[in-house]
């Protein structure tokens, strides 16, 4: 399928869905509205709300806060995950000692941590960063740990035979391998950073997309809730595209999916 065709079809899906939504919320069928606007709003109101946000400029502040929180959570979580992942992979004894605790903490639904973080760090951005951090950290950690452990033994033996010191092994073998594993989870990690930020805002904040949605919900402003969700979705797509571009540059050495050679 050519790019143009693909794009057209993708747009078509959106148009049909929105049209359906509009029809079902506006025109009665057999004397009855299938989607009552009180619960489902309608595309016109939602669009009006989005336009109002952007034209008045209030949305930028919220987007900015959510963006900063997501980036901080992602960067700090990644750094922590990489460091601990490397450490555990190179020190199996440390890993063995901490193993049950890692599993325990990872099994914890992070939402229950949100109030605690709010208590500790206040209602500002840091409680949201902390929530995102706990999500991102584990994804990156597990992937880096795996990446370091799963270096092909032959490649490792080859590196040793080529005279690499322990430090050179880190730089030329373990690090690229860990990085490739980490990048394979990059989209998930970035997604979780945003989830952490938005959920944190939703549960208590003074700004951000989550806060916006929560405010609208508080006054049963369904159009506002939907508008918030759409802005959030667009926000995630933009970030995801940026991540894809970075990934493409950094993982140039990897076979594209579908033409993998053994």
């Amino acid at each position: 399928m050519s790019r143009i065709n693909l794009l057209l079809l993708q747009v078509l899906v959106a148009v049909v869905s929105i049209a359906l939504w509009h029809v079902l919320t506006t025109y009665p069928i057999f004397g009855k509205l299938l989607l009552p606007p009180f619960f489902f709003s309608n595309p016109v109101d939602v669009a009006a709300q989005i336009v109002a946000w952007f034209s008045s400029g209030v949305i930028w502040k919220h987007l900015w806060v959510t963006l900063i929180e997501s980036i901080l959570a992602f960067v700090l979580g990644s750094i922590g995950g990489v460091l601990v992942g490397f450490w555990f992979a190179r020190q199996p004894r440390v890993a063995a000692v901490f193993d049950p605790y890692v599993k325990m903490v990872n099994a914890l639904p992070r939402v229950v941590l949100a109030p605690i973080f709010a208590l500790w760090l206040g209602l500002g951005i840091w409680s949201k960063v902390a929530l995102g951090f706990t999500l991102v950290f584990f994804i990156v950690f597990f992937n880096v740990y795996q990446g370091v452990k799963e270096v092909s033994p032959t490649v490792l033996a080859n590196a040793r035979m080529l005279g690499m010191s322990e430090r050179q092994l880190m730089r030329h073998v373990y690090w690229p391998s860990a990085l490739s594993w980490m990048f394979s989870s990059l989209h998930t990690a970035v997604g979780f950073a945003v989830v952490g930020a938005v959920v944190g805002e939703y549960l208590g904040a003074a700004a951000g997309l989550g806060y916006l949605i929560q405010q609208a919900e508080g006054v049963f402003d369904v159009a506002g809730v939907f508008a918030g969700m759409f802005v959030l979705a667009a926000f995630v797509i933009v970030i995801d595209t940026v991540v894809s571009l970075i990934e493409k540059r950094l993982l140039i050495w990897r076979p594209a999916v579908g033409d993998a050679r053994p």
Binding site: T154, V155, N158, R160, M161, W253, P255
Partner: protein, 283 residues
Amino acid sequence: MAENAAVAASNTQNARASDAAIVLDDVVVAFRLADDVVYTAVERATLHVADGEFVAIVGPTGCGKSTLLNVTAGLVTPAAGAVNIFGNSLSSLNRQAGYLFQADALFPWKTALENVAIGLETSGTPVTDARARAREWLARVGLEAFADRYPHMLSGGQRKRVGLAQVLIRDPKILLMDEPFGPLDAQTRQIMGNLLLDLWTADRKAVLFVTHDLEEAIALSDRVVIMSAGPAARIIGDWRVPLTRPRDISEVKLDPAFHELHHDIWQKLKAEVLKGYAWSERV
């Protein structure tokens, strides 16, 4: 045939230990499979390789050829026996050896050029110098045009050639090669074989060359060593190849001496191949 083997054996035994690049004496290799299960892969293997000598090892699959190379490289420690490299007992990694592995061993995240250059960079050569010399080596193996490709964009044969350049650029005194032409077609094998002989003639290293192709072994080497089927594989034959050098692989196969030797060795090898096969069927 037995006579021939005996002569070759005594020839090598006569070489003084300090002359020999590789001396394996009664080497035993055992792998622990489970807590109380030990698999003896190689049983009392003795092999001497003189400096500048090209020795091929042939044997049924799973007999322990790669294991012997790993022992020589210092990657596997034998359970018993001695390993001496140029007269020194080997206690850790063999720094004098270059090893072309049986499996893919290139760094997938480095280009062909970077892969070749890395062996110099690790020993302190400045990156630009290392890259320049890597380019020369890529040209020598006929891959100049592929310098910027990543391993997954190269064919199996091209990858093996990059691997060869990667190892040879360090100018090791000993070259260990594990079925380097394994996955290649017959024509490419010949081209690679001639390439290898050219490189080796220009700079004679001690070579330990593992192959499952007896013709290739005879055509390339000074001596052919045969291993018995595992478990507890031993070295059961050692023939000197009476062919003159320089050789061309396709021409040398027309020599009557080639056929005589091939016939002799095959008589012995055939039985082992069948044994090795039967054993792995049972397992």
